[in-house]
Symmetry: C2
Subunit: 181 residues, 2 copies
Amino acid sequence: MNRAQPAPAAESGDRRTQLVAAARHLLEAEGRDAVTIRRLGAAVGIRGPSIYKHVPDKAAIEDALTLTGFIEQAEALECVPATFSALARAYRTWALSHPHMHRLLNDRPLDRSALPPGLEDRAGAPLVVACGGDLALARAAWATIKGLVDLEIAARFPPGADIDAAYGAAARAYQGAGAAP
Amino acid sequence: MNRAQPAPAAESGDRRTQLVAAARHLLEAEGRDAVTIRRLGAAVGIRGPSIYKHVPDKAAIEDALTLTGFIEQAEALECVPATFSALARAYRTWALSHPHMHRLLNDRPLDRSALPPGLEDRAGAPLVVACGGDLALARAAWATIKGLVDLEIAARFPPGADIDAAYGAAARAYQGAGAAP
DNA sequence: ATGGTGGGGCTACCAGCGTTAGCCACAGCC
DNA sequence: GGCTGTGGCTAACGCTGGTAGCCCCACCAT
């Protein structure tokens, strides 16, 4: 009907990219439930079902979102010193400023095949370095940091709890076990 | 009030209890998405909308479910020695045998007002004991155990990872920091 | 210049979700 | 005997992800 112009709006990259960007905005601004096929369509100026001309299903958009999230998270960890405290602080800061993204990354089971090979190792590398190459210790430290952040985001610490002190206690424990402080 | 007369087949307690029990079965057997108003109705022999004669909304059922989950989890931790390793093992065993319940307990923000006062402290007490009363250390240990379990349930460890070794490394770290081994 | 092809929109629609409105049958009480 | 409250029911609403089928238009080959 009204689609006579070849260039509808100003610069628009390919639709798929636009959709992922729109999904990102919706996710960060209003949470996962707000990322809806019809709202995504509205955000890029099309009608909902037309989305399926560019993407097989909603999961594909979430997968793309997940990918960018993992990359950004890895980048946030790569530019701090490889010590437990610094990595914990960087992870916590990143997660608390992108809580919905953090939930998206952690709440759904990981489809490893949708991730480029190596990304997982890259994201985990700084902590392995901080743990002097001890993989088991690094995994425990990873679980600790993620657990602390999850508990904080989910408001599971009692009101008034000294969260910094919990991070400090964890840092002391892992330092004693051989991690760089 | 019609007691015992029109129930065709099943004798049972009040509907609300029945509904929560049915929700429990659905959750454990098929996961959270299977817990649906209409399916809950079918499970107790009524028609979906009739559920709202017994319960204000679906969240109330999930809250009741959450409550029983927390109680059972606390019980699972109370009958083992107050050491990091024993508590971690007990928590892991409980969570891995009720993975959907575990997700329900952890994925939604905690509505503290729906929990009886004291339950939270009761659930956390064994770990505080194991940490010699050091609250900060206990919270870090709590995050570690929960984090390890979350990662395992979400299949976030690379295939072939030695998960037991990660628990062992955590145990050593917290032991070194003053927790009972 | 003409015709074929296909990309990318659209509307209509489906089943299922939580939830509401309104109707009705029956038990128990006055 | 009638009133009322309880607890069923069906119909329906607005939302969800997703499918079917139509149609316009750009492009390309003849």
